[in-house]
Amino acid sequence: MSQDKSEARARHWVKTRNLTYVVLVLWFIFSFVVHWFAKGLNEMNFMGFPLGYYMAAQGSLIVFVVIIFVQNWLQDRIDDECGFGEN
């Protein structure tokens, strides 16, 4: 394998890894942290819902969908930038 290719791979992997870390932190917050405080959040209202219930029934789910589409959009950009975009 050429020097260029392995350097490109290293750069690509660092970027991919950092993106993945950010995604996992967000994932952790909306999977666990928010629901740990469900009781307190229920005191607040959001669109007519008690917030703690809303987050478990809908809020977290919507965040997950957004995260996954945005992550894939960013990952595609990383791939293209490093010359690993496939066709």
Partner: protein, 601 residues
């Protein structure tokens, strides 16, 4: 039609959806002409199964890559739909809303866990496994770590997890077939299996893919229609998802008035009364139970082979990622509807201002209701005037949680055609998951155990025949176990997730993310994690005791940390993998270029 099958997919499935809606319309007209509910139910189930079987027949194949990975040509949106159907089982379709109805906030952990798990699938697994180019999940373990022993350990975990899961699905198909076709449960189970095998046997992954897309369309229509209908009747608008907050407040207002929380004065087998408040999340132990269940379901999602193998079928790595996002989108549509359904159905029964409410009415009046009689006759609903005052109290109304979704159209007084539609949807959900699971097991046994370990010289024809014989054998074993009715649907499903995450989660993740992980470590991770989880399950299930509130639904919380520690410690104590393996990991992380394994491996 011009172009190939793949080019015409939107047109084909568009026509299919139109045809299905036409069929629903035809049934509605038949109902107007006085055709009875039973006939409509039979027509719905029989017609849809016939369609799936026809797709299965048209997709028959004798090619290895078509059989194992659908020829790697499934476009992302369609793979998303197929994964959604593969994923949403009898438990999601039939049991989840019922769980929320009875368990309240605590059961929303399933909703969160079964969606957020896809973040892990997307971030940690799917694109890399697709790049790797394996046919099965043990194929990845066996090649990355090397050696038949690692491959075999992965096969064992896969078989245990998937088999636990598949019995629950065959149980669900049996339950629905029995009700819709008016046959005994034991016969219904075998009938359900026949339908499942018709979809998968001749065409393997290719047939399963195209039937699952068809099944997704049926199940999502069947789930959403009754909710929208009910919501309109209750004045929450056409899309209740964003406006049923008032229903929650109304339930919270009614609960103390009706005395929700009073235990039943007597016990009736198989049914229970509503005692949990609808929206009462706790702190401390309750919050801990919530997050541990979420964790097990998420990591289980990311380790269940029948889901991961769906992403082997896309043309490229990028398409694999895209199809994970579409999968989550399609799953989300059902999962954010489930709590709405549970809430609106509860309001139907509880709110004295609604014509459909039963609590507080006279026992005589309630017993005269058609749906109470129908479900009561099969022992799934029971009314008992414990305090003898002639009025129905909340703790005198017994219900089996699994029937909420199936009975909702009748509870809300919707036409029979909606009940028939829901039965067809439940059947689609259970069949599609059972298909994927049976195929995952049979493929692991035929590819990894038979071809890779026992007889590496076997020719293609031979391999595919073995795969089909195994499919029938495992299906029959699953149906035999299901007909014994050992566990409930939701319980068995949670076990499958815990088995999978205990044994496979870290060996799979670290296989990509940690170059230093080696064969000895992976073996230790699989054996110790799976062993510890299983032993804990045995202990807690037989003694009824729990440690830190970890019950049999979340034993993955024991298995996973054991697996991680064992894998890291043993890997570090033994030599690093050789340069060839390390290069293989680098290759896996690079989305461009061909697969790591060649196509005819």
């Amino acid at each position: 039609m011009k172009g190939g099958f793949i080019d015409n997919l939107p047109k084909i499935y568009g026509m299919y959806t139109g045809g299905f809606l036409l069929f629903v319309g035809l049934m509605a007209i038949l109902e107007q002409f006085g055709v009875d509910a039973d006939t409509i139910g039979i027509l719905f189930v029989a017609f849809t199964i016939f369609i799936y079987a026809a797709i299965g027949w048209l997709s028959r194949t004798m090619q290895v890559d078509a059989y194992y990975v659908a020829g790697r040509e499934v476009p992302p949106v369609f793979n998303g739909m197929a994964t959604a159907a593969d994923w949403m089982s009898g438990a999601s379709f039939v049991a989840m809303a019922g769980g929320i109805y009875f368990g309240g906030h605590g059961y929303l952990a399933f909703v969160v866990g079964w969606t957020g798990g896809y973040i892990l699938v997307n971030a940690l697994m799917a694109p890399y496994l697709r790049k790797f180019g394996c046919y099965t999940v043990p194929d990845f373990i066996g090649t990355r770590y090397g050696g038949n022993f690692a491959r075999l350990a992965a096969v064992v975990v896969l078989v245990v997890a998937s088999f636990t899961y598949v019995t629950a699905q065959i149980n669900a198909t049996g339950t629905i077939a029995a009700r819709a076709l008016q046959i005994p449960f034991e016969v219904g189970v075998w009938f359900g299996l026949l339908g499942i095998l018709l979809c998968s046997m001749l065409g393997g992954m290719r047939a399963v893919t195209w039937t699952q897309v068809a099944q997704y369309i049926v199940l999502i229509i069947a789930y959403v229609v009754p909710v929208i209908w009910m919501s309109n009747a209750q004045g929450f608008g056409a899309i209740p998802h964003f406006s049923y907050g008032d229903a929650l407040h109304r339930i919270a207002e009614l609960e103390p008035m009706l005395g929700v929380g009073t235990p039943a004065a007597e016990k009736i087998a198989g049914v229970s009364v509503l005692t949990n408040l609808h929206n009462a999340p706790g702190e401390g132990m309750a919050a801990w139970k919530f997050v541990t269940l979420v964790a097990c379901m998420m990591c289980g999602t990311a380790s269940l082979p029948h889901i991961l193998m769906r992403y082997f079928t896309t043309p490229t790595v990028r398409a694999a990622r895209k199809s994970v996002s579409w999968s989550l989108m399609f799953i989300f549509l059902l999962y954010f509807t489930a709590p709405a359904l549970a809430t609106l159905t509860k309001l139907q029964l509880l709110d004295p201002n609604l014509a459909t409410s039963i609590i507080g009415r006279s026992i005589e009046e309630v017993n005269a209701l058609a749906w109470i009689q129908k479900w009561g006759s099969v022992g799934m609903v029971a009314i008992s005037d414990s305090n003898g005052d002639g009025l129905l109290q909340i703790n005198e109304f017994f219900l089996r949680p699994d029937i909420i979704v199936l009975a909702t159209p009748e509870i809300a007084g919707l036409p029979y055609v909606v009940s028939g539609l829901v039965a067809a949807g439940g059947m689609a959900a259970a069949m599609s998951t059972a298909d994927g699971l049976l195929l995952a097991i049979a493929n692991a046994l035929s590819h990894d155990l038979y071809y890779k370990i026992i007889d590496p010289k076997a020719d293609t024809r031979h391999r595919l025949i073995v795969a089909r014989v195994l499919l029938i054998g495992i299906g029959a074993a699953g149906a035999a176990v299901a007909s014994l009715k050992l566990t409930g649907i939701l319980g068995a499903v949670a076990w499958a997730f815990c088995f999978a995450c205990s044994g496979l989660f870290f060996p799979l993740v670290l296989g990509v993310w940690w170059k230093r992980a080696n064969r000895a470590g992976a073996l230790a991770g699989m054996i110790c994690g799976f062993g510890a989880g299983s032993l804990y399950l045995y202990w807690t299930y037989t003694t009824g005791q729990t440690w830190m509130g970890i019950d049999h639904l979340r034993f993955g919380i024991i298995g996973m940390p054991v697996s991680l520690v064992a894998m890291v410690v043993v890997s570090l104590l033994t030599p690093a993998p050789d340069a060839e393996i390390q290069a293989m990991v680098d290759e896996t992380r690079d989305p461009s270029g061909g697969t790591v394994l060649d196509a005819t491996h």
